[in-house]
């Protein structure tokens, strides 16, 4: 199914998305990857607030290349999500619901997604030049010292994504491959 959706990712919206759906996403997302997640989770452990309101937020696992003069951002494709598995349940616990990345997730992340109605979207890994075209605004909001890993607020328009894991735990990496193999078997 093809969906054009606008953030924030409310629980109702999240529950209407299913693994395998093609999604064109519009709205505000926050960028963070390894070092940013570590720092955010350390801040939460100390009882501090995050640099952005996590309620119904979507986090894009990306470390963009620097913007050339006149560009909003450099290339900006997803990084491997599995490295954020240690932090993702904590982020969902405080309200973040959407994750954009690529690659497999651990069962404990999927369990947290079921519990908190989280959605894991896939962007095409390695398509950083293409994905950058959907990013209309970019603003650095925290952890500037982390360079490419700093926290940024992005406004994206019609960002092409696929729902990889939905909040019922269905996983396109399993179902997509199984469907392909089944179809091949019938030939």
């Amino acid at each position: 199914m093809e969906r054009h959706i606008t953030l924030p990712l409310t629980e109702e919206l999240a529950r209407s998305l299913h693994a395998g759906d093609t999604v064109y996403l519009t709205g505000t997302v926050y960028t963070s990857r390894d070092a940013g997640h570590k720092r955010m989770c350390e801040a939460l452990a100390r009882g501090e607030e995050l640099p952005f309101d996590p309620k119904d937020a979507t986090i894009y696992y990306v470390g963009p290349s620097p913007a050339k003069p006149g560009q909003v951002i450099g290339s900006a494709g997803p990084t491997t999500s599995g490295r954020m598995d240690a932090y993702a349940p904590t982020m969902m616990y405080v309200g973040a619901r959407g994750m954009i990345g690529k690659g497999a997730r651990l069962p404990e992340v999927v369990e947290a997604m079921k519990k908190y109605s989280g959605v894991y979207f896939g962007a095409i890994g390695g398509a950083g030049a293409l994905l950058a075209k959907c990013i209309k605004e970019a603003e650095l909001i925290a952890y500037e010292d982390l360079g490419a890993e700093a926290l940024r607020r992005l406004y994206v328009e019609e960002m092409p994504l696929v729902v990889i894991i939905d909040c019922e735990g269905n996983d396109l990496y399993k179902t997509g491959r199984a469907a392909y193999l089944a179809q091949r078997g019938e030939e």
Binding site: A35, V62, G63, P64, S65, P66, A67, K68, Q71, G74, S75, A76, G77, T79, T80, G82, K102, G103, A104, G122, I124, G125, G126, A127, G128, A129, L130, A132, K133, L146, G147, A148, E149, P160, V162, L172, Y173, G176, R177, A178, A179, Y180, L181, Q183, R184
Partner: protein
């Protein structure tokens, strides 16, 4: 004896860092287009179309194909009749990387220390590989390597009794374990033989060989074709969404090894397998 200025090496490395990140090699583009033509699964066709569109945008707008502009792997084949003057070689190469990644607006992805993880801020040091060869030229290859795929690589010290079947199984097992993580369609470099470290180097060098070339030894050429076909039978597909195109190519490099061993390393790369060469 030919004199080559260190500054010349810096200039070439700088240029190659930028070009390698913006222009995908022709053989990789060709493999992507061929695989698209052969792909019959709609979800896979859609991903391959976007991947092709992406490298076209990068080339046209002179922006990095992928935001992970990698660690700068720099291979130098230095003619033994060359004398490098006006600076030290390591410094010249690192300066080229520093300038290329700075002026080229490439991402700085290197940390000073593997555990303490402070960014060096300029993508140095280069991963520098030097080899002395006959002649009076320097052949410079810059191969930026992203870590989404690098992390899925593997090495194993086999007993010789594991034989060909052991190697076959290891390749399939490594690709299966990598699954959607290394941005498939992948490129796979296999190094067999040598010592623990040489096998890994062979695997990395295998990624530099054009995808439309085969190992000159018919035994290994056959193994390359067989393993590519078997990988593309797994059904992982582009981005892991299912489909035929799991790998664009598989190259094997080998060297003599010890009577007691059979090291095998597998270096996984992605559809943005980059390398660019210039001869000084």
């Amino acid at each position: 004896m030919r004199e080559i200025q260190a500054e010349t090496i810096t200039d070439v490395v700088e240029r190659l860092c930028v070009e390698a990140n913006e222009y995908l090699p022709e053989d990789v583009k060709c493999a992507l287009r061929d695989c698209r033509a052969r792909e019959d699964w709609p979800a896979a066709q859609d991903v391959l179309d976007k991947i092709i569109e992406n490298y076209e945008i990068a080339q046209r707008q002179e922006v990095p194909i992928c935001q992970d502009t990698g660690m700068a792997c720099v291979f130098l084949e230095i003619g033994q009749d060359v004398h490098i003057s006006g600076g030290d070689l390591r410094g010249a190469v690192d300066e080229g990387v520093r300038r290329g990644y700075g002026k080229g607006y490439l991402r700085k992805s290197v940390v000073k220390d593997p555990l303490r993880r402070e960014n060096t801020g300029d993508n140095t040091p280069a991963m520098l590989y030097t080899e002395l060869v006959p002649g009076e030229q320097i052949r410079v290859t810059v191969a930026p390597k992203g870590f989404g795929s690098e992390n899925m690589s593997a090495i194993r010290m086999f007993k010789p009794s594991a034989g060909l079947q052991g190697i076959r199984d290891f390749i399939l097992e490594t690709v299966e374990a990598a699954g959607p993580n290394p941005c498939p369609p992948m490129v796979i470099g296999v190094g067999i033989g040598g010592t623990f470290d040489k096998a890994a180097l062979l695997a990395k060098k295998a990624l530099l060989r054009p995808l439309d070339s085969r190992n000159p030894d018919p035994f290994y050429a056959g193994l390359e074709e067989e393993m590519l076909e078997r990988i593309n039978w797994l059904g992982i597909g582009p981005q892991g969404f299912g489909g035929r195109t799991t790998a664009l190519g598989l190259n094997i490099e080998t060297m003599p090894t010890h009577i007691a061993g059979m090291p095998c390393a597998i270096n996984i790369s992605c559809h943005v397998t980059r390398h660019r060469t210039e001869v000084i």
